[in-house]
């Protein structure tokens, strides 16, 4: 790329709509799996706390899934969910997010001090009622912490989907590399970082709203 500047602004100016569409596509591909994973992690986490024997086998399975390289999983899924489809990228990302969210959900539910749990039982909460009314709200700061990790790592991983034809902003990296033209690469990096930053800020804001009592980081007393 000798002599080629890092950024040619005219290219960005000419491709604003294109960059916007890629960013939105990236956000959907990366973040919808995290939401789906949250919807699965909460009931699964509640079940794991209620029936502790479930937790170890489940967490072992998700850990193994997490260890699989994303590209390999995308390729394996192509025959089932299609080439260059959102689903091919989103299904593995859902599992990766679950691998992060299940332990944080379980930790969060277990973070409730014993005295709180006993007080709740002594006042006449049944086991499920107590989990949903006392332990789950108390786990919110943990859930948000898990969501922050899962969302950012999902945003980063989604770019890999470009290798099988659906990776949102990831396509800019392949494009720039193939044409030895750094401007799309730089644009992609900045936009991925911006997307991660905005998502993270929104999550922090959500925690302030949902758990105003957890003012200090990790103050899930």
């Amino acid at each position: 790329m000798d002599g080629e500047p890092l950024v040619r602004w005219y290219w960005i100016g000419d491709h604003l709509a294109y960059l916007r569409d890629l960013t939105l596509d990236h956000a959907v591909i990366a973040l919808v799996p995290v939401l789906i994973a949250l919807l699965i992690a909460v009931p699964l986490g509640l079940a794991c706390v209620r029936f502790p024997r479930l937790y170890h086998p489940l967490s072992a399975v998700f850990n193994v899934v997490y260890a699989l390289p994303s590209l390999a999983v995308f390729v394996v899924l192509i025959p089932y969910t299609g080439l260059a489809t959102r689903a091919t990228v989103m299904v593995p990302l859902t599992f990766y997010a679950l691998a992060v969210l299940l332990p944080t959900t379980v930790d969060g539910l277990r973070s409730v001090p014993d005295s709180v749990r006993q007080a709740a039982t002594a006042m006449g909460y049944g086991p499920w009622h107590r989990l949903s009314a006392v332990e789950l709200p108390a786990a919110v700061p943990y859930l948000v912490a898990g969501l922050r990790v899962a969302a950012v790592s999902s945003i980063s991983l989604a770019a890999v989907g470009a290798l099988i034809g659906r990776g949102g902003l990831g396509y800019l990296f392949i494009d720039g590399f193939q044409r030895t033209f750094p401007t799309p690469i730089v644009s992609g990096i900045v936009l991925v970082a911006a997307l991660a930053l905005v998502t993270d800020l929104l999550l922090v804001l959500a925690r302030r709203l949902l758990a105003p009592w957890a003012v200090r980081a990790g103050a899930a007393r």
Binding site: S115, Q118, A119, T121, G124, W213
Partner: protein, 381 residues
């Protein structure tokens, strides 16, 4: 009334927590279970609300075996206070207090109105209602814990070392508050502690436990201090128990010399202000600063307070005050000591059980506070 009828708890691994307990907890009074850690006192407490199910025997609440009642329903009718308060971190103070009313299906407005009443009852400012538990001090959290336990006005209150985690000054305040509340509410209180001072301070009856929930002694606090059942109990009570026992007797029947007979005592003269309140002792003829005049309220303060005042007084006598703080008379050390050996119950108690109460392991004295029905119940074994 709560009755333990041969109640026992054996853990699945074979260890015994409580072995065949027979005990009556009288209604409307405070019963304190006290003993070293591992004596089974918390296990006993939790048998009442079924947080521990006895493996043998029964626990009866007003004649009904608690095992026959649905656990959640039973627990909503029993207040429960624990050491760390156990407040819900995600709920504001007002909603923490209203927990049981909500569970009972009260509407939000009524439950919160009740919670606001309780906040006041336990001596907390109304503006604390909107706070979260982490914004309260340890003592305030514990008060909220008590308010929460009382929210649905349960007849029975279980308290498991509720004041152990706060510093001594705050603890004394909480104990005073509980005594005041109990004098208004007359709940059946079962209180667990490892602190014998707390036990004799709060209990109408005190149950000293050994390992496996065996009852070492069951009596009113004064009898416990003055007549421990055996050396083990005496050792558990610690030093100066005779003197500490004075702290449980009201300063009555002391020969107070009225001020109308003079304000001089042993070369000192008591000075009063215009309202009749004592300002200090002075030596006539000398122009030194007056020395403090320690005082007590007859019938309100304890004999220990009166004796302490007399010991600290330069004139060797305590000043007796009326309820407005005006001096009414002078009580010499000798007069106070005479009251100790006079008609007070500690003086002349027989050591053997009363013949008409063969189960009583220690005699029930004539009550120190004129309550002749201090409960003394059967021992476990």
């Amino acid at each position: 009334m709560i009755r333990f009828d041969g109640a026992a708890k054996r853990h699945p691994d074979g260890t015994i927590a409580v072995e065949g307990l027979d005990l009556d907890i009288p209604a409307g009074r405070t019963t304190v279970l006290v003993g070293p850690s591992g004596c089974g006192k918390t296990t006993i407490l939790r048998m009442v609300n079924r947080m521990v199910e006895p493996t043998a025997g029964r626990v009866l609440l007003d004649g009904t075996d608690v095992a026959e009642l649905p656990a959640a329903k039973l627990r909503r009718g029993i207040g429960y206070v624990i050491q760390q308060a156990g407040l819900f971190p995600h709920r504001r103070v007002i909603d923490n207090i209203a927990t049981v009313p909500y569970l009972l299906g009260w509407d939000r407005k009524k439950a919160r109105a009740r919670a606001a009443e309780l906040l006041e009852l336990v001596g907390l400012a109304p503006e604390l209602a909107k706070r979260y538990p982490f914004q309260l001090s340890g003592g305030q959290q514990q008060r909220v814990g008590v308010a929460r336990a009382l929210a649905a006005d349960p007849p029975v209150l279980l308290m498991d070392e509720p004041f152990s985690a706060v510093d001594p000054v705050v603890r004394a305040g909480l104990q005073d508050e509980l005594l005041r509340l109990q004098s208004e509410l007359n709940k059946t209180v079962l209180f667990v502690t490892h602190d014998i001072e707390e036990a004799v301070r709060l209990g109408d009856q005190v149950v000293v436990l050994r390992e496996h929930g065996h009852i070492a002694q069951l009596s009113d606090p004064h009898t416990l201090l003055t007549e421990p059942a055996d050396d083990g109990v005496a050792a558990f009570l610690g030093r100066d128990r005779g003197l500490r026992g004075l702290g449980l007797l009201p300063a009555r029947d002391i020969a107070v010399r009225p001020l109308t007979d003079g304000t001089r005592q042993g070369g000192w003269e008591l000075r009063l202000d215009a309202g009749g309140r004592p300002t200090g002792w002075v030596e006539p003829g000398l122009h030194a600063q007056p020395r403090p005049a320690p005082a007590f309220h007859p019938g309100v303060d304890t004999l220990r307070t009166a004796l302490d005042a007399a010991i600290l007084s330069p004139a060797g006598a305590a000043v007796a005050l009326d309820k407005d703080g005006r001096a009414t008379g002078i009580a010499t050390r000798e007069a106070i000591l005479a009251a100790l050996t006079g008609p007070q119950p500690a003086a002349s108690k027989p050591d053997s059980p009363k013949p008409d109460d063969p189960k009583a392991g220690s005699p029930n004295p004539d009550s120190p506070e004129g309550q002749d029905e201090r409960p003394v119940n059967s021992h476990g074994r």
